[in-house]
């Protein structure tokens, strides 16, 4: 240590000129980029919309091409395979919505569950299910008439707009078939406020073609989840802090809500704009709990949830489940005093 308490240089360690440092950093980044090209390309495409995403996508596509030609991506592929994560870098370019013709069914009877015939519950979606999922599971953990079929199956930074990042239309049918849920709670859309690219064509967010295609995908995902006869609680997008984002999400909520309405009895859409707004209908970081105490509800990004927000959403899910099915012990939730 020197007189300021800073670590001194070990005399055994050799130094190098600044020019060599720059070259070494450059070589290191080039080598890493070539070896990691596939992962970088996928990461580039998972960015939000904008010029940055376009440039990164183009550059990394070229890099992945070069890496592939010289098989420089092999070590990463082998390592991922050894870890059992071969699919990590997979890019899916083709969107197959198997339930291409919406059935628009109307369920007339409410299934009844009991301790001997418990309701199989599945929670899935993007990062907005990450906090409410465990909160809900915690609330129902003592109810023998409900059997969660997995822990919260959240896939952050995914949605319906970018199947090349994560293809829900490929993933969900397999999950539904394997887990056979009676009720699926799902949330999509938080990462969907961007233009379509790839197979669906380049459509700017909000255009008529974009809205039509998004409707087709929302409709498709609802059909995938109800294909086995299960019911769906489809969580709407929550009111966010950013007004610009709020406008986009309201457009998407309208599509989700109207598609859910076509599947009355099978799908219930939950209005989280209303549930998470303050008494004046505005966004608020804080919301009152059941005793009227103000609690932090939203995380610092103005999108995700803190415990009180997760509780509000979990309670809204319970209300929605009660509309779809009959489960003993899953009573009505006491509404919070001021939240909408």
């Amino acid at each position: 240590m020197d007189e300021h308490g800073l670590p001194e240089q070990d005399p055994r360690r050799r130094t190098m000129p600044a020019g060599h440092v720059l070259l070494a950093v450059f070589i290191g980044l080039v080598v890493a980029s070539l070896l990691n090209a596939q992962g970088m390309h996928k990461q580039a495409l998972s960015q939000g919309p904008g010029v940055g995403r376009e440039i990164a996508g183009t550059l990394t596509a070229g890099l992945a091409g070069v890496s592939g030609i010289f098989q420089l991506d092999e070590p990463r592929i082998l390592l991922k395979a050894a870890l059992g994560r071969s699919g990590d870098d997979k890019l899916v370019g083709k969107l197959a919505i198997s339930a291409s013709k919406p059935k628009v069914p109307v369920a007339t009877t409410k299934p009844v569950f009991s301790a001997t015939h418990p309701m199989r519950l599945y929670l899935t979606g993007d990062s907005l299910i990450t906090d409410p999922g465990p909160t809900l599971l915690d609330k129902i953990s003592n109810n023998p008439a409900i059997k969660p079929v997995s822990t919260t199956d959240a896939h952050a930074a995914t949605g319906l707009v970018q199947p090349e990042i994560f293809n829900w239309f490929d993933y969900l049918p397999k999950q539904i078939k394997a887990l056979k849920p009676d009720v699926t709670v799902a949330t999509f859309g938080a990462n969907d406020g961007l233009g379509f690219t790839g197979v669906a064509g380049a459509e700017e967010f909000g255009s008529a073609a974009w809205l039509a295609e998004y409707r087709r995908r929302v409709s498709g995902v609802m059909d995938e989840m109800t294909a086995g006869g299960g019911r769906v609680v489809f969580l709407g997008l929550p009111i966010p802090r950013d007004p610009g984002l709020a406008r986009r999400w309201q457009q998407m909520n309208e599509i989700q809500q109207s598609e859910a309405a076509k599947r009355a009895g099978l799908v219930v859409w939950v209005d989280l704009f209303k549930k998470l707004a303050d008494k004046n209908g505005h966004y608020s970081d804080y919301l009152p709990d059941s005793s009227g105490q103000q609690q932090l509800a939203r995380s610092s990004d103005g999108i995700h949830y803190e415990p009180q927000g997760a509780t509000v959403v979990a309670d809204a899910i319970i209300e929605a489940i009660n509309q779809l099915v009959t489960v003993p012990g899953l009573g009505p939730v006491t509404p919070t005093p001021a939240a909408g």
Binding site: R13, V21, P75, L83, T135, S141, P148, T151, L296
Partner: protein, 469 residues
């Protein structure tokens, strides 16, 4: 801009040559570094830069006025204005909602309606770090141990991008003199810089992210997890928070080294501590030093009665706890550590008075480590209820399947704890050996290690935990 991203890599590839090209002209270097650091910060939100610039101007003004004032009362008054200004700035963004909701809830309990209003704004990243550094500057000026420097020097000191968002908390006397005595561009301690950056990335991307895979679900819904899963999650969180924060600090120190600057060390194998006092000499050392020199000692330190010393210890730890976040759980975490430090002090006194030998080292380590892990439960939990649920589950969750315990998490916890017990000179020996290789070999090897780190890390690496502080 996050360190483990392609964006930062591109940014650094541009800043690194500019740094060395302008180094011979300190004025040009300061302009370049200020622009680079503000750009780095603005990447999150351009609005943050205005706050940082505002804090810089305010603190520079106060420091210069303190320095120029001759009357002790005027100097002291200016110091208090500076401290109050900084605390108000921090309080508004970080603590207003916490205190407002606490006051509203207390009033509600008493049947009184109170509506102080909530601030709906984003917490500026790194605000606690640079506010503490700014406080050092004005307090050192008031003490006469440091003279204010030019505005551009102070602005670069406060915004220097390697430490800007999560420390280490550097003192003016440690960094500003380095700006005026530029390092020799022919002798850069680059191998250590590379090793620290790669080591930090490994800690963050591989260990912290892997541990989070168990920690997040267990703390999210404790009742759904078995006792072994919960126990492992508690230890995994100890590894996660260390890997996350030490990872960032290590990268920051490495980045600064490649630019030719030295930062103080911030972590020294904290989980090999054999007492809580020892732990605080190894954990977030720059914050511990700051709290000691600017809070504990001014409060009286250990110069008063036993009660006063204990009060000072407790106050320092409680405020240190609250520095980490606006939540009662952080305050309680600080109080737990304060209590442990007091108990240790009393026990040591009694032991010495009775002429008893110190406790066996292994036992002291076992108690310290488990205490620290226990306290982390309150640090990690969103509420006391959640913390108590986690603790309860350790005792009641037996006989439940432990599906969350994976080889990856066990290996991450074992690695995270194992590296704490490496011989003291292990890393410096490795670095000395690696430094003998030519620069291109070091660069290529770093590229391969980067690939391995990237491939081992789970998808979706979360932002650094300490950014929120």
């Amino acid at each position: 801009m996050l360190f483990p991203t392609v964006t930062f890599a591109i940014f650094f590839l541009i800043v690194l040559p500019l740094n060395w090209l302008t180094m011979h002209n300190p004025r040009n270097w300061r302009i370049m570094m200020l622009v680079a650091s503000y750009l780095f910060y603005a990447w999150w939100d351009p609005w943050f830069v205005l706050l940082l610039a505002g804090s810089t101007l305010f603190n520079q003004l106060i420091a210069v006025r303190i320095f120029k004032a001759e009357a002790p009362r005027a100097r002291k008054a200016l110091l208090w204005v500076g401290i109050a200004g900084n605390l108000a700035f921090l309080g508004w963004f970080k603590y207003w909602n916490f205190f407002a909701s606490s006051a509203q809830n207390a009033a509600h309990t008493l049947g009184i309606q109170l509506d102080p209003g909530f601030v709906s704004t984003v917490l500026p990243i790194g605000i606690s770090f640079y506010t503490f550094m700014a406080l050092s500057y004005i307090i050192d000026t008031w003490r006469g141990t440091y003279e204010p420097v030019s505005l551009s020097r102070f602005a670069v000191f406060l915004s220097f991008f390697p430490h800007l968002v999560a420390g280490p908390i550097v003192r003016p006397a440690e960094l500003i003199p380095q700006f005026d005595n530029p390092p020799d561009p022919r002798e850069v301690d680059a191998t250590r810089g590379f090793a620290l950056i790669l080591g930090g990335l490994f800690l963050k991307v591989v260990l912290a992210s892997t541990c989070a895979k168990l920690v997040d679900p267990v703390f999210g819904s404790p009742k759904l997890h078995s006792a072994p899963e919960t126990l492992l999650a508690i230890y995994a969180y100890a590894v996660q928070i260390f890997s996350d924060f030490a990872g960032y600090s290590t990268i920051a120190i490495g980045v600064a080294l490649l630019l030719g600057f030295r930062f103080p060390d911030n972590f020294n194998s904290p989980y090999r501590a054999t007492s809580v006092q020892d732990f605080w000499r190894r954990w977030h050392m720059t914050l511990s030093r700051w709290l000691r020199d600017y809070l504990y000692i001014p409060l009286g330190g250990n110069r008063g009665s036993q009660f006063e010393t204990e009060r000072n210890l407790m106050l320092t730890m409680v405020i240190g706890g609250l520095w980490h976040g606006a939540n009662w759980t952080f305050l309680f975490w600080g109080a737990l550590h304060g209590t442990a430090l007091i108990v240790e002090r009393l026990a040591r006194g009694r032991r010495e008075a009775r002429g008893k030998p110190p406790m066996a080292k292994w036992l002291a380590w076992l108690i310290t480590f488990n205490f620290v892990c226990f306290a982390w439960i309150f640090f990690r939990a969103d509420s006391f209820g959640q913390a108590l649920s986690v603790i309860e589950q350790v005792f009641t969750g037996w006989g439940v399947p432990s599906t969350g315990i994976t080889l990856g998490v066990v290996a991450a916890v074992a690695t995270g704890l194992g590296i704490q017990f490496l011989p003291v000179n292990f890393w410096s020996d490795v670095q000395a050996r690696l430094s003998r290789f030519p620069f291109y070999a070091q660069g290529a090897a770093a590229g391969v290690v980067l690939m391995v780190i990237n491939a081992l890390g789970p998808a979706g690496v979360a932002p650094f935990i300490y950014f929120q502080f």
